[in-house]
Symmetry: C2
Amino acid sequence: MKKKSIKDIAQELGYSKTTVSFVLNNKGDEKNISKKTQEKILAYVREVNYQPNQIAKSLKKGKTNTIGYLIPDISNPFYAKIGRLIEDLLADKGYHLIIGSTDETQEKEDLLLNMFVNRQVDGLILASSFENLGMLNTLAAQRFPMVFFDREHPDFFGNYILVENKNAMKGAVQNAIKHGSKKIGLLSITPNVYSLELRIDGYREALSENEIDIDDHLIRIVDNNNLKESTKAQLQYLIDEQVDAVVFTNNQITAHAIWAMNIFHKEKIEDVRFVSFDNLDLFDYSQPKVTSVAQPIEKIANYTVDILGEVMNEKEHISKRIVLEPKLIERL
Amino acid sequence: MKKKSIKDIAQELGYSKTTVSFVLNNKGDEKNISKKTQEKILAYVREVNYQPNQIAKSLKKGKTNTIGYLIPDISNPFYAKIGRLIEDLLADKGYHLIIGSTDETQEKEDLLLNMFVNRQVDGLILASSFENLGMLNTLAAQRFPMVFFDREHPDFFGNYILVENKNAMKGAVQNAIKHGSKKIGLLSITPNVYSLELRIDGYREALSENEIDIDDHLIRIVDNNNLKESTKAQLQYLIDEQVDAVVFTNNQITAHAIWAMNIFHKEKIEDVRFVSFDNLDLFDYSQPKVTSVAQPIEKIANYTVDILGEVMNEKEHISKRIVLEPKLIERL
DNA sequence: GTGAAAGCGCTAACAC
DNA sequence: GTGTTAGCGCTTTCAC
């Protein structure tokens, strides 16, 4: 049973493709197709379970109703949750998501960007690593609808939905200092991401404003390709340095560190305060407790979709930068 | 700057569309296009950064190189992780994923299934809720390439990648009994999913084989639409019933229950053993500790993609049912 | 070695 | 009220 096309329907019913097409697209009345004809066509279409070919429609209309979702890793709960929220918001408007995980490598990012363009996605939602602005600049020059979230690049001008990174982190670290922490280490992934740099800056500022010497040895970078083991090793280093607090720049490392702490440093668990950017449910009860900076993910998703909608509709070039306020959740 | 098409390239270079198309598809040699022409075309294409329109190609070829990934919720770490593995495996073959989250509702599932068909996906990977077989039967009758994982339906004949549910759960519960648990409750989501029923059956069998009375009041179903709060409430019920162990049919409820246990039943935390289907890193150190049945997610992803590849290539109808062995991780 | 032309399934301007 | 037709961008058969 080959798939039926509009042409088949038209022939079998003795109408033209046009008439059938109009009726299928609810333009029957507008185009003065008689009620009777409309009903006949609709009934038949339902009977044979005709499914329009969205690809042909897309080609004709130059619009695919798909959006590319480019992030470091869809299995990271932060991107998965925002992805889910975006999926639902877009579905209401008839759009669907193609996903692409970059693993923070420029190579995969470029490959995926190309793929999205080839597939004629109508827009792009991206947490880019911004290692290389090449393709992004090209797309921006063509006014390709894009909205960036979570990550930014100071030299790239575009639509951003972000959270306050520096001050939020600063506040979280100051909170730890207020509660007595004096020797504070930091663990981060790839710091060549501007948003993460800002978080690290916030950490530095908090220390210097409280007259704590910044010791660069206490700022440890974990290996992206081996997050869990590397986090364990770097945490070990900080423990050996006898820190009384550790700051994490995202929740994935924090989760791994909680694991490492419980498995390998159980005896020190009361002596080290954890502070994390991003929240996780388990921070409510984990040992050690984790004071965290919670990002407003619903708002992020809402704004992202809203702005993308605007960009796709507007002929004019808009460039908004929306910075949301994260929330400090103190857990002592 | 309008996007260039093959036609533009051909005109600007003084060749025909055919020649350009051949060269672009690496058929230059095969079609006896002169080396010189080939180089000229390739150089120009690179210079103007020509991007082929995948939609047009798809329409012509009847193949979109996209796969639909239909699951209950992409923000569930289990589906996100498998999704990520599948994404990578498929990317190597030039396929990409469109995602669809059903929230376990038939309405959304049917909507998404239709969407996938309209979009002419080449295949479908699904963790269906199987509430209603209607659309799936239709697709199966058309030999639409589909591979099911995680969930099965006894009346639906298709390609399945599953894990042993009943015996694995039985083993986990027996393990708890061996270590002294006597009054064992169970918490599950929507049990109208066959795979979950099997897990519950495993629980029942373990009890009866050990001469523990099965008390249906101790089998609690949580509300899907309000997982966290409902889990808390149902857990409360079991605690009040003074169970000495609780069994969970998936990791999401277990995580919520750990949270509820720590926040609301801290004093009982030593008295209740947790047993969970699905694993989570945090089970290594959470209070209470969780003995879990870990699914082999890499294998699931690999088999799923392999079988889907076979189905898409074969003209013949194959129907494989692969049942993988999960691993019991005892944590006491 | 290269090109003309048909056609994938659909939409929509224009005709009658 | 309904039909004819061109064309979206690409592939591929057949011709020269």
